[in-house]
């Protein structure tokens, strides 16, 4: 009973592929704390690190926003250690660049409420750019440029709007 409940915690794609095998494997085993913890840790891992071999690709109209699909969509695919390091390097480099731009603008324009609002947008933009080799890895160059620039534009717009509202109130 508890094993079936624990298997229910795994993503559906995992259950479709391995569920019957694992059920057969544990059928004759005593249910111990170790087994429960192992299955639970496995379920957490399968949700946090869904492997392409069991990730489901729902056809149009079958998409459902369960936690598993959200996790599956939010997890980068085929990201190597080199990609992760490159992403970390890009994050640091972009942070340095945007900090430099901020300092230059501040020296040029002086105290400016809009500039401070923009400073708040710099970190998310650096984080967005650093996803080039991780979350955005599967996309084409043109799609990456479009996603990064469009999202950066929206983030900047929100910051400016927030600054404008705070000045107006």
């Amino acid at each position: 009973m508890i094993v079936r409940w624990l298997l229910g915690l795994y993503p559906r794609g995992w259950r479709d592929r391995y569920g019957a095998e694992v059920s057969a494997l544990v059928a004759n085993e005593p249910v111990t704390i170790r087994l429960i913890l192992d299955l639970f840790a496995g379920a957490v891992d399968a949700r946090l690190h869904p492997q392409p071999v069991f990730r489901r690709t729902p056809s149009a109209g079958q998409e459902s926003f369960t936690m598993s699909t959200i996790f599956a969509h939010c997890t980068p695919v085929d990201v190597t250690r080199a990609d992760a390091w490159r992403s970390a390097g890009l994050m640091i480099a972009l942070s340095v660049v945007v900090a430099g731009v901020y300092i230059w603008l501040k020296r040029t324009l002086g105290e400016n409420a809009f500039l401070d609002a923009l400073a708040a947008a710099f970190f998310p933009i650096a984080a967005l750019g650093s996803s080039w080799d991780t979350y955005l890895k599967p996309y084409s160059f043109a799609a990456k440029v479009s996603i990064v620039s469009a999202t950066a534009f929206v983030v900047l717009l929100i910051s400016l709007l927030a600054s404008f509202l705070s000045e107006a109130i």
Partner: protein
């Protein structure tokens, strides 16, 4: 793929690196399903992996093409080593052997 890349195939497995290596060793003498792998690994390495750990490692090995699933004989699917998996296992065992030799030599030296 370079020899060094093959040797590093298991490096990104995190806590699943040891189970993955033992699965490759277990499959080196022929296809096995999950239960047979568990028993074989327990006999060879005196460690018994739970199903969550075993299938976490199997999923990673399958994803990287180091093992492949065969047709089910009942509810249990056997797995076998691929050519890439065999290369990765040979490379990893060779590097472990080199480390072992150096360690033993250093322990033996006064």
């Amino acid at each position: 793929m370079k020899k060094r890349d093959i040797d590093q195939e298991l490096d990104d497995f995190g806590r699943f690196a040891e189970p993955a290596l033992l699965i490759l060793v277990s499959l080196a003498d022929g296809p096995k399903h999950g239960y047979a792998m568990t028993e074989d690994i327990a006999a060879v390495a005196d460690v018994r992996f739970g199903p969550g750990t075993l299938y976490g490692a199997i999923a990673r090995l399958e994803t990287r093409g180091l093992i492949e699933r065969l047709e089910a004989d009942d509810r249990r699917n056997p797995y076998r080593l691929t050519a890439l998996g065999e290369k990765a296992l040979r490379a990893r065992l060779a590097s472990m052997q080199a480390v072992m030799r150096i360690g033993q030599r250093r322990l033996a030296s006064p």
